[in-house]
Subunit: 172 residues, 2 copies
Amino acid sequence: MRQVAKRSQLTELEGAALGIVLRAGACTPYAVRRAFGGSPSRFWSGSAGAVYPLVRRLERRRLFAARADRRDGRARRLLSVTPAGRRAFEAWLLDADRAADLGFDPLRTRLFYSDLVPAARVAGFLERTAAAMAAGRGPPRPDLPHAMRLHESWCRLRSGALEEFRKSKRRR
Amino acid sequence: MRQVAKRSQLTELEGAALGIVLRAGACTPYAVRRAFGGSPSRFWSGSAGAVYPLVRRLERRRLFAARADRRDGRARRLLSVTPAGRRAFEAWLLDADRAADLGFDPLRTRLFYSDLVPAARVAGFLERTAAAMAAGRGPPRPDLPHAMRLHESWCRLRSGALEEFRKSKRRR
DNA sequence: ACCCACATGTAATGGGTTACATGATTTA
DNA sequence: TAAATCATGTAACCCATTACATGTGGGT
């Protein structure tokens, strides 16, 4: 899965990066990396090779502004979102067509093809998956109540879908 | 978002491609493209530049076998899955750790940052998104009942999450 | 005749991953 | 003092996207 991005439209990663800096008020590219890395999905890894070029890209497009800061010896750059950046962020977030897209779910993909594998092995797989989901990393940003509710309700719904699938297999 | 793929581990796209050919018994790379393109998510576009090199890759790794076929003038290649291919497919599908990953959902991402946008605009966005999800492309592969059930239950789940979020906003 | 679907591919480009490189500060 | 964390970046690689190129077969 890759980013789509018609000319000048923000990618998912870029939109999220603007959101992170907007929420923080101002922060370093490193903090953006941490925020991505703390996500409960491996698809938001926040690798250096992704984040630093992304930040430079958004600076060139005047959506980020950066100022140097070396209050404590460390040379860091503090990012903030420009007015144009905020407008781009809102346009990205409020795009209902992109929001409606089903996205990409490794569990859904596997269930879709699970009829091609012996049922006994699938049953074991479903059990292990349910366990891994339950044991999965805790909720991201416990400091943000709305984000926690969202994370919880998403996990609950996914577990629900998995249980529904297991029941329908047993019934058959 | 990019594929992860530790050396010799199948990517999501590769696993799904094996699944498509296993289900068809034998089919052309073009049919694999169609299958990807018919997916309800834009993240499975099935572009030529993705599928043809992918097929060659899996041929080199002896997971696909190809034979030429020109029964009706058209020069086509018929793919089949080798025994090693089936083993790789099962290992890919039965990977509970990868299945448990939350994946990548454009709606979830936007809800996560929605507190940064004026509530009135978010309300309109949620309504448009609900409408777009309802009007979205129909279910994929109505010929496969298990796939249809899965698709339906997944859409229902996402709509449920959206409604839950809207209610929690209204309560506030 | 023309267009659409079938069918196979390549080239340029974009962008994410892994791994590496460097250095300061904090903590065990 | 050694390790972890903060902090910034680059280089090689992989792979998906867009756009292009080429040709056949069937329907209007």
